[in-house]
């Protein structure tokens, strides 16, 4: 059968994956700490029909080869960890990381999750938790009667206690950086986990190495650019259309082969 049919089908599949990815990015345009991803494609294997340099006669040889490509496939969704806009909020436990660091979160399964979403809260026991109720790592507890919570640029959490003149410290928010953040595995809920590709986390206080500092009263917006996604969507849609035209052409040609004999 005509190879073009399958080749164009692979192109349509790839563009569909592209549109799926655009949809995911656009759906998360308001998710604090969300990192957009980009679909990468690669061409498939080539079917070699004639090797370049193959003899064409006793003396001559083919100057150019003949190979037939078999289409494309999605190869990676690479995540763009560039910073989103910093949005000022009034929450004392809203923090944004200015730099490459990730906040560490203790997940119920016992593993550590990493996030850029710094929308934190206090739970019933006074523990500092994420929006989903997972405690930060290392754990920080602030008593219920503490007021005027302050988080310094280097992550020290302090608050005023009734009857005390000096602010009391309750711990330090630590950040983690990775050799290859692109290798982190997304697991939903703005969380990432370590893989062999990302490398082991290097943890430490904010402000040390290239971990970045903590900004209290700010949240990091999603880094999705709506304009860019719209352009990707148009391109994906048109490429999908072009591939479907190829299928139509292949179909018409097959139809004509069938009508060779009346």
């Amino acid at each position: 059968m005509i190879r073009a049919l399958y080749t164009a089908a692979s192109g349509m599949n790839a563009q569909q994956a592209n549109i799926d990815n655009v949809a995911h990015n656009l759906a998360n345009v308001n998710t604090a700490g969300f990192k957009k991803s980009h679909m990468e494609f690669e061409d498939l294997v080539y079917q070699q029909t004639k090797l370049p340099g193959a003899p064409t006669s006793a003396t001559g040889e083919a100057p150019a080869g003949l190979d037939m490509g078999l289409g494309t496939r999605p190869v990676a969704t690479s995540r763009d960890f560039s910073a989103g806009n910093m949005r000022q909020t009034s929450g004392p436990l809203d923090i944004a990381v200015e730099g490459d660091g990730f906040l560490q979160v203790a997940l119920p399964s016992g593993i550590t999750g990493y996030t850029r979403s710094g929308s934190l809260h206090r739970d019933g026991q006074g523990q500092v938790v994420t929006g989903e109720g997972y405690p930060l790592e290392p754990q920080i507890s602030i008593p219920a009667n503490a007021t005027a919570i302050t988080i310094s640029k280097d992550g020290i959490v302090s608050a005023a206690m009734p009857g005390q003149s000096a602010a009391q410290q309750f711990g330090t928010i630590e950040l983690a950086t990775f050799q290859n953040p692109g290798g982190l595995k997304p697991m939903g809920g703005n969380l990432f986990t370590v893989t062999t590709a990302s490398g082991e986390p290097q943890t430490g206080a904010p402000g040390t190495d290239s971990r970045g500092s903590v900004a209290q009263g700010y949240l990091e917006d999603s880094n999705v650019s709506v304009v860019e996604e719209m352009v990707n969507m148009i391109l994906g849609q048109r490429a999908y259309e072009a591939n479907s035209k190829v299928i139509k052409a292949a179909d018409e040609m097959l139809q004509q082969v069938n009508s060779l004999v009346r």
Binding site: I2, R3, A4, T7, A8, S10, G11, A14, N18, H38, E40, F41, E42, D43, L44, V45, Y46, P52, G53, T56, A62, P63, A64, G65, L66, D67, M68, G69, G71, T72, V75, S78, D80, S82, D100, Q179, N180, G182, G183, T196, A197, G199, Q202, S210, L235, G236, R238, A239, A242, N243, K245, V246, A249, M253, Q256, V257, S259, L260, V261, R262
Partner: protein, 239 residues
Amino acid sequence: MPGAQYIALSGMRTRLDELDRLANDIANVGTAGYKSERGSNLTADRPAFTDVLQSAIDVTAGGRRLDVRSGAIDPTGRDLDIAIEGDGFFTVQTAAGVRYTRNGHFSRSAEGFLTTPDGSKVLGTNGPLQLGSGKTRVDEDGTVMSGDAAAGRLAIVRFADAGSLVRESGSILRADGLPPTPASQATVRVGSLEQSNVSVVERVAELTNATRSFEALQKSVSILMNDVEVRAIEVLGRR
């Protein structure tokens, strides 16, 4: 069957091949660093039969050449997306040997090597580029800095006859004996990616051309087979 039908059939066959080539180009319109190919058809060379079958001059697919024009350079903002401005190819170490590519979508492996999306190591002028733990920066001349230390310089090469490179999966090109020479003047643009150089407009126009000429050839075969021959049999048979 007279020669004319074979000629037309060979023409139909080459149009089918052309369709395959167009399909591959259009399928790879979103593949970074993809290079399309220019095909050509030529009259088949049949030295032994020319005297006997004067009319059987058919067409076959001729050679193809890589279209090495640069694709559009798209700013991505990623630190490790690198596009080459002008002539030149990145050198990568694949499992099958040294290969070349224009796809500068690199990442950093767990061991700190600069790799392609397939995990092949990107080569510098002094072997694979290994990055330290600091932030990676690539200068315009291809020098890779890791933190404050230089990790090496991207091995960017050019070919006198780049059109003869052979494509492999993953926007990778094979040299097949062509000698690479260092492209010392090459400048790289960091945070940008070279897109596929397929022009959809051009390819869809060619697609229409291939379908229509296929149709014309089909008509001629059909007329020869269904009308001319049948008529000949009818007329001659009546005598």
